[in-house]
Symmetry: C2
Subunit: 338 residues, 2 copies
DNA sequence: CTCTGGCACTCTTCGCACGCGAGTGCCAGA
DNA sequence: TCTGGCACTCGCGTGCGAAGAGTGCCAGAG
């Protein structure tokens, strides 16, 4: 069990190290924070903290730096979330309100997050799973070649080519289009499969093959689009990582290009609030020297996607968490309005 | 005027420097390339080359490295384009043929280019200016609210909302859709404005406002979409840039996030063949220590967009140019097929 | 006139010894 | 349990000298 003062010492170490990027010693600590005790006492506390694995020293005779475990304790017990100031909040809101469409909202969010946190920002596009179908359109490009266009209530449009097993007449096409829309328009994606299941039965035998093909393409589109896209930005902030550059930054850049990795990373965050994954807590190896701060956002009560930032484990956690939370809140608001 | 041998010396310097990343001296040169002359002679040649500004020495008593001007001469006069080997070409083709849609083609192209050249790859989405309209679709979302969907022959789909000044009946909608398609389907974007100019005249007075609105939205879409999108990848290769890391890499990362900058960069390449911009030849300041190798690609004879790579000025120009050219060729081919 | 070998000179780099200073650990005493 | 003191450890910066690479120039040969 750690005494109250030892926790204060840990907090002071984290704060100083985040500020200076240099190992912090006992003397400097007592000078900068008025702990009311002498350096010698602090040294004893530091020895205890080191025994417990919360801090470590890079070399003998250097100061201490927090370990992942130390940051974890700091985030969980010692620091809150620093709220944004009123002017900051206004700036966020103004900036996001200028967006003209969904792509623009996401793009602006990424820029904003990157600027506010001075780190790499990752924003997932709003998820389709909770979405509803606004309209399905079918176009004949050739006698046996259709284009399927799916329009969602979040304003996204997805298209797919469909090669038909047999030529498909204009009348059949109009019929299919009408039936399809009357069944699925306004419905949730998850409900679509059962709603269209028996649709081929309503058609002549010669058209059934095509109808089935169209339907399976539609269902595929719905599923595939749950492999959600995302946008990243602020990679230039990676240069502020540290001195031991290339070795650290390379795997991070590689991880950032693997959308799958990032999606998994964001997906892991289960909490309703802000989630912080520190260093080795991240499953992906390349991100072992980074921390990920993420949170879900959405319009109304529902989470439709996640956003977050990736930065060095030595980051300003309270500030970053505050910024991430604030941006998520305003993005949700913007999405609800549109 | 430079003698033949001096050009050979320059070529040797470029090749060695690209290989070793270290300033190259006269002795090493005579050992590695059998120039048939002594180091002393080479020294004289190097002094001449330095006077002309083709090479420079970082410090007194170090070897020489090529200047931008030196690379320029090398690219223009001393080196050709290194063709891809047959297995490489097959690999490119196979990889690209696996693509399922336009997004996928672009995504695969980026990955491929980044891997082949081990540099940062930039691929522009196929441009709409040269494209033709495949189909225009109009959907009624509400009595006075339409959705306009534009489908191009390159497989791109763009949608816009249209708020009508007055309610618009189903019959009028079908009429407009039919007339619109009969006029513009298969036509070039650039021809569309004049083709639809008199379309409102064919409608009742009460519908004319809506028709005009739809048309102007369509024209806007055509114009706006010339602000083309692009995709980048292989940023992890930036780590191979050099030793003086953060200072060089940061502005490059920043430039890469400015899509406008990149589009301008690619747009500048006017040649039918591969274009190389070396160091300070790039207008954007952040890219002054990089070279950009780009080329247009397209189906048939026409260039619909550009692609290229960004790397250190010290790059393998012949190999990079070969890879860029080959990828462009196969992407064009894939686009033509689909 | 061009090429070559030789020579002196310039700098960078590396290794090494040294001293400084920060920081630690431990201990005895309050 | 806290404090002050003290000895000890190391990392880091500095200065110096040797080594090595590379250059420029010059005089002589072809």
């Amino acid at each position: 069990m750690l005494s109250e003062r030892r926790l204060q010492v840990l907090r002071a170490i984290v704060q100083d190290y985040v500020g200076t990027e240099e190992p912090v010693g006992s003397k400097a600590l007592t000078e900068r924070h008025n702990l009311g005790v002498s350096p010698a006492t602090v040294r004893n506390d530091m020895a205890a903290l080191e025994d417990e694995g919360f801090i470590a020293q890079p070399h003998t005779s250097a100061g201490r730096i927090p370990t992942d475990k130390g940051y974890r304790l700091f985030v969980d017990k010692l620091a809150g979330v620093k709220p944004m100031t009123a002017p900051e909040r206004r700036a966020i809101q103004n900036f996001l309100e200028g967006a003209v469409d969904l792509d623009d909202v996401v793009a602006r969010t990424v820029r904003l997050l990157a600027q506010l946190t001075r780190q790499v920002a990752v924003v997932q596009y709003p998820s389709l799973t909770r979405s509803t179908v606004r309209h399905v359109e079918l176009l004949a490009l050739a006698p046996a070649r259709l284009m399927l266009v799916l329009i969602t209530d979040t304003g996204r449009v997805e298209q797919r080519m469909v090669d038909c097993p047999a030529p498909f007449g204009e009348a059949s096409l109009a019929d299919l289009r009408a039936r399809l829309n009357s069944r699925v328009a306004g419905r949730r994606f998850t409900d679509v499969p059962s709603l269209v299941e028996d649709l081929p039965d309503a058609f002549e035998a010669e058209d059934r093959g095509t109808v089935s093909t169209v339907l399976s393409t539609l269902l595929e589109t719905l599923v595939e689009e749950n492999e959600e896209r995302l946008m990243i930005g602020g990679t230039a902030n990676l240069t502020r990582f540290g001195h031991d550059f290339p070795l650290v930054i390379r795997p991070v850049l590689e991880a950032l290009e693997e959308q799958v990795v990032l999606l998994k990373l964001l997906g892991e965050a289960k909490d309703p609030g802000v989630t912080v994954r520190i260093g080795h807590e991240n499953a992906h190896e390349g991100l072992n020297s980074t921390s990920v701060v993420s949170v879900g956002y959405g319009s109304g009560g529902e989470t439709v996607a996640k956003l977050g930032v990736v930065g060095p484990t030595r980051m300003d956690y309270p500030g970053t968490m505050g910024a991430v939370r604030a941006v998520a809140r305003y993005v949700g608001q913007i999405l609800a309005e549109s």
